[in-house]
Amino acid sequence: MPKVLVPTVCPYCASGCGFYIAVEKDRATGIEYMPEHPASDGALCSKGNAALEVLYHEDRLRYPLKRKGDGWARISWDEALDLVARGLGGALKEYGPKRVGFLASSKCTNEEDYLIEKMARCLGSPNVDNCARLCHAPSVVGLNRTLGAAGMTNPIPDLANSKCVFIIGSNLAENHPVLSRWIHRAKDAGAVVIVADPRLTHTAWMADIFLQIKPGTDVALLNGMAHVIIKEGLIDNDFISRWTRGYEDLVQAVKDYTPEKVSEITGVSAGDIVRAARAYAISPASAIVYSMGITQHTTGTDNVQAIANLSLISGHIGRPGTGVMPLRGQNNVQGACDVGALAEFYPGYRKADDPETAKFFSKEWGTNLLPVGKGLTATEMIDAAASGQIKAMYIVGEDPANSDSRSNYTREALENLDFLVVQDIFMTATAQLADVVLPASVWAEKEGTFTSTERRVQWSHKAIDPPGEAMSDLQIVCNVARRLGLDFNYSGAAEVLSEINRLVPQYGGITRERLNGSGLIWPCPNVEHPGTPILHSQGFKLKDNRATIVPVQYRPPAEDASWEYPFILTTGRLAVHHNAGSMTRRSPSLIEREPDLFVEINTADAAKLRIADGDEVVITTPRGETTALARLTDRVKRGVAFMPFHFPGTNILTSEARDEEAKIPEFKVSACKISRRD
């Protein structure tokens, strides 16, 4: 049989890189690059190059399993679906739908997430969420409030048109490597690159101005820059008066953030703050790129709003080369939010607490059970499971036992459930706690759409069949829903997409037929519409078409270094690993490059603690302790330690403190102590 090249979308980060899977005799045998792809331009990072390694991994779940004593027993699909229907259905009947929780997956397709969310709500449960809660929930809240739309305002390749790229709280060189090609292109054309990060990351190597801030002081830095821009008259007066409201309040709010004062808070020199502010404001087109370093804080929403303020007063939005660019972490976390797998939003960001929304979807979905009001978020569901308020959960393609903060507590909470069903491709730490485990498919074994961080909706084709009796998540969800008495008869992803086209206005024109090339960028309201690569070029989707400047004040993080816990622990990602690591830790060519959990400690701190490079050290926080190998470096300042979160140990340590509005835990700042293990 000849070799067939199947176009697909990379399953790792949200850059949405395309490549071809070479298929011979129904087996995926290789990767070919896709030079015609608009975002990746033919490139692929280490994870993308290793993507096929998980397909035939021996750990893949091949059959439905049920818990039997301490082990697992293989069961038939029929029995598995019966057990799930009995477990979930029993809890629904006995305790009511509000005491059942659903987690959709930001690794699944839009169609699958849409069905999970529809199933949850048609069963009467408002509790459906996805792991966007742990990454960009503050962007959804903050950007919707200030700009009227949550998403990257400009596409990835547009970074090349920028004259100043301000990267804050994002290590994109390791986490979204293909973006660096566009930023380097901008640099060659004369752009200034500013990087703000507590670590001297690989991204910082690109910087002309590097601001090494103390973790959790982003609002102070951003307000300080706004202060300089206002004081030196570098604001865009025309833009402010034409397109914004609330500017006067901001002037008052940032009055006291002098560079000297901000320098004391952030640890960055006053001169660098002024230089960065000037470079950002006076360039003809400046973009702000940010990621988890901004959102994973108790002040996450404030951080996002401070970023939006900066871009609004400088008028750097709505044109090529400008914009506010939240970089998403997972291949379809943008899409999962768009199709309504969020506790506070129905599909298309219709507010869950608006009775009109429930009325609209009741009619469309032909049910009168739809819940009105916000459901529990992913993090709140764990609390509710711990307190016994949530009795049963259905978790699809997520690993909260590894990826939530203070994971020991999360594990106990999940153990406390009466019934837990997990649908995944590997036996993750969460699946270990389940009553029933359903074997699902990876991206290459199914078809459907993924929405990348630049809002690009792309069709990913099926290349191979799932292993054993594993099924696509879409088939599994439909089967479960039918057992629970819902009318879920979909022939495939294309049929579900046409329902999404009808119900999600932004996706109105993104039909299956139009998705054969490199995809479409939402909003795309009808089939003639070419898509909208640049948002806000004709005003904002808020009152009077004006953006809202929401002043914010600096609040210190929930935890600070103390006598007992003298270090600030911050977390992040590595180039060769991805999120909770269930896939990358099983990829031989990735795990061999970073096999162990490590902690970066400043050389001077390590000397005082008598720790040498490579020593086993114990890191302790009030939540628990973990062992890691010490890596001595000057990448982090004194008093700061860094750990990657791809290994189970890290999130044992992280803080439970949350952002009030977005409910995101403060992964990025935990006070800890470090000692050598003797």
């Binding site: 033919g42 692929l44 990072c45 280490s46 490597p177 090609r181 002309d208 180039a575 490059r593």
Partner: protein, 145 residues
Amino acid sequence: MPVYVDISRCIGCRSCEVACKRVHDGKGHVNVHFAGDHASVPIFCHHCEEATCTMACFTGALSKDGERTAFSVDKCTGCGLCRLACPFGVVWTDKLAHKCDLCAGRETPTCILTCPANALSTDFELASKRARARAAMAAAQGGRR
């Protein structure tokens, strides 16, 4: 036609390592070296003009083929002299020798295609061209900020 590195662009993502290994059946010929906390550079065969590995190889398995330092696996005895002779440590012997073959059979070496930052190319001048462009732009804009 060796592969040249623009060190100012390397982001240490190790894509070239993984991609090289992927297309060479599990034996990669690139190592990304980290220079402290401040830079990284992929290290692989330079295809030297006066290649010491070819001088050491007594069977002629390693030989110059134009700009390329070619390797013919059939003639290799696995003696390891090439590994000792290479001043850059980019020829390996596990039973038989292996080194960068500029992806024989492919139009462009895989590392060049996969590099997310466009740090690799076959154009010797590219890195200096880019540096000149940046300097010129900076001068036109009134100096570095």
